[in-house]
């Protein structure tokens, strides 16, 4: 189950510590700046500063405050949420291939979200006004939690999880979710159909501030919670029984992690659609840089996840201007081959 392909005698060839996090943070800041500055209308650092200080001209100000800033904020929430959820699931399941998308958590969240979009006319109006903006993330959360609980209980039953079992469970869950979403699409009207189609490709462009703030709040709360789980996730690497012997309450920790993962994935999926593979790629890159200890992997993965999402968004926006292909296409195009490479590497080492 090793993460390093060639095992160095000394595992000290890792870079953990303030300089590395400063570098990752700086990289993220650069991508954020590019996300804000680049596009059909280029904004210089002067424009950005002026707008942020509330002194900008009307044009740049509208572009920045109404389009690019919500997009960047949503992108960060998506990156943090997915990267940390991926880390947590890989940690609990002791399985480096666990990813909210592959094992069906995202699909579960999507079913919840689609149900709210299509069936929402029937009940959202009846909800108390303060709850209404949360209906979509709540639906996604419920769907995501259901799948997470299912997958975690699978790992409990089989006393650990082998990759094949997990991926097959993911195939089944994704198939069921696909059928349910298909049913929703079938009964949706034209407008809903159009919304669903674009939503299902994954995009952080939809951002209006209302939606962005709800998502960001939920995803950040869950992300902060997950960041504190480093020690538990390290202990899970001993197996559940030994982790209990070392002093953690396995069931409680699994529930906590399942809840926070479902909140993060639910909120993110509700706002941006299913975005795949970030939960797989970001933790792997983080482990390559900072080693396996989760107190380092978690923050590093979050920074990398944020940068990857905004980087992917920039790539699709700048590829064919002025059109803006959905970001989910880009993450899957990079993430899919990455996943295959991981699979091959495990096969070569005879590990499954």
């Amino acid at each position: 189950m090793s993460e390093t392909s060639a095992l160095p005698r000394h595992a000290a060839a890792r870079f953990a510590g303030i300089p590395v996090f400063a570098l990752l943070g700086a990289a993220l800041l650069i991508v954020v700046f590019a996300e804000l500055a680049l596009g059909p209308v280029r904004l210089g650092p002067g424009d950005l500063l002026a707008v942020l200080l509330g002194e900008g001209e009307q044009g740049p100000s509208a572009i920045l405050l109404q389009i690019r800033l919500p997009r960047a904020v949503l992108g960060l929430a998506v990156g943090f949420g997915l990267a940390l959820s991926g880390c947590a699931m890989q940690g609990v399941l002791r399985n480096p291939l666990a990813d909210p998308g592959l094992i069906g958590v995202t699909a579960g969240a999507a079913v919840g979200a689609v149900s709210v979009i299509v069936l929402g006319n029937y009940f959202v109006g009846d909800l108390p006004a303060p709850v209404r903006p949360y209906a979509l993330p709540l639906g996604a959360f419920a769907g995501g939690l259901l799948v997470t609980a299912f997958v975690f209980s699978l790992s409990h039953l089989s006393g650990g999880t082998n990759v094949a079992m997990l991926i097959l469970a993911g195939v089944a869950v994704n198939a069921i979710a696909g059928a349910l979403i298909g049913a929703m699409v079938y009964i949706s009207d034209d407008q809903q159909l159009r919304d669903l189609t674009f939503w299902s490709m994954g995009s952080i462009a939809s951002g209006n501030w209302m939606q962005v703030s709800v998502t960001t709040m939920l995803a950040l709360a869950a992300a902060l919670g997950l960041l504190t789980m480093g020690r538990s996730l390290d202990l899970f690497q001993l197996g559940e029984r030994a982790a209990f012997h070392a002093g953690i309450d396995i069931e409680r920790e699994k529930w906590r992690i399942a809840l926070m993962t479902a909140i993060a994935v639910g909120a993110v999926t509700a706002a941006a659609g299913p975005i795949g593979f970030i939960g797989l790629v970001a933790p792997h890159m983080a482990r390559l840089i900072v080693g396996p200890a989760h107190r380092n992997v978690l923050p590093a993965a979050a920074l990398i996840g944020g940068a990857l999402i905004l980087g992917a968004d920039l790539a699709v926006r700048l590829a064919v201007p002025p059109t803006e292909p959905p970001i989910g296409l880009a993450t899957s195009m990079i993430g899919g081959p990455f996943f295959l490479w991981l699979l091959m590497r495990r096969l070569k080492r005879g590990g499954f």
Binding site: M1, S2, E3, T4, L7, P8, R9, H10, A11, A12, R94, N95, R231, D234, L235, Q237, L238, G239, R241, A242, F244, H245, A246, G247, I248, D249, I250, G291, P292, A293
Partner: protein, 265 residues
């Protein structure tokens, strides 16, 4: 004292433990022996607090093990599984750090880890990746993790529970492991160790508890417990007990290599 009283436990319709009572005192090393399926590992799990037995009580220093929260329990007993696993490329030092509670200050934790690694002769491998260690060394690293868990608690004595710690080790590593466990007992910990090797049990344990079909059939010193008649009966194979030079019993199975088990039955 670690004490199991009148334990009954079963899985489905199979009774695995039938009215088992075992005591481990601080500073005492108790070996748990018996044929496969006698219920040794289940008893260890019940005494470790993994699950509550269907009947009976397990007390650790007067408190029920299943009533204590996991983090409190972890300060009073540490358990080494038969085949410890690790799914991440931690260094030996990082592995040991897993045994130390969060509230121990880092300087003290580092000191404890270094001392324990020295005690188990792994200090020179401290910064190595656990996954490149030999099987014997890796097992010893896990043993050190369990030892440091007890060392980190400020209680005068804890209980060390080892499930067949010598099963996959060569002779030298077996002896080294038993000496390490013995030393823990001398320093005041109560040690409960499941052993298949009866000679190791006779050589190292203060007391031997012999189990058969879910019951304790004998409980006492190696000399009292290991008699040829008793062992031959419960293992269903001919076993001779000699007296070694140090006065301890030496248990020698009769190999009779050309006889098939079916013929004997």
């Amino acid at each position: 004292m670690l004490e199991a009283q009148g334990i009954w436990h079963g899985f489905g319709s199979t009774e695995v433990l039938r009215d088992v009572s075992v005591k481990v005192r601080p500073g005492e090393m108790v070996a748990l022996c018996g044929p496969n399926g006698a219920g040794k590992s289940t008893l260890l799990a019940v005494m470790a607090g993994d699950y509550a037995p269907q009947q009976g009580l397990v007390h650790i220093d007067g408190q029920s093990v299943t009533g204590l929260p996991p983090d409190v329990l972890a300060r009073r007993r540490a358990v080494l599984e038969q085949t410890p696993t690790l799914s991440a490329a931690f260094t030996v030092r990082e592995l040991l750090a897993l045994g130390i509670p969060r509230d121990v200050p880092p300087e003290r934790a580092n000191l404890l880890i270094s001392e324990t690694l020295r005690d188990v002769s792994l200090l020179d491998r401290a910064d190595d990746n656990c996954l490149i260690l030999s099987g014997g060394q890796r097992h010893r690293a896990h043993l050190a993790r369990v030892l440091v868990q007890l060392a980190a608690s400020d209680r005068a004595c804890g209980y060390l529970m080892l499930d067949e710690p010598t099963a996959s080790l060569d002779i030298a590593h077996q002896i080294a492991t038993m000496r390490i466990a013995r030393r823990a007992a001398r320093l005041g910990e109560g040690v409960l160790v499941v052993l298949h090797d009866l000679n190791l049990a006779a050589a190292f344990a203060d007391r031997v508890v012999l189990m058969h079909r879910g019951r304790v059939v004998a409980d006492g010193t190696g000399t009292d417990v290991f008699t040829a008649a008793r062992l031959s009966a419960i293992y269903e194979t001919e076993i001779v007990v000699e007296e070694a030079m140090d006065g301890r019993p030496r248990i020698v199975p009769v190999y009779d290599p050309d006889t098939h088990p079916a013929q004997r039955a």
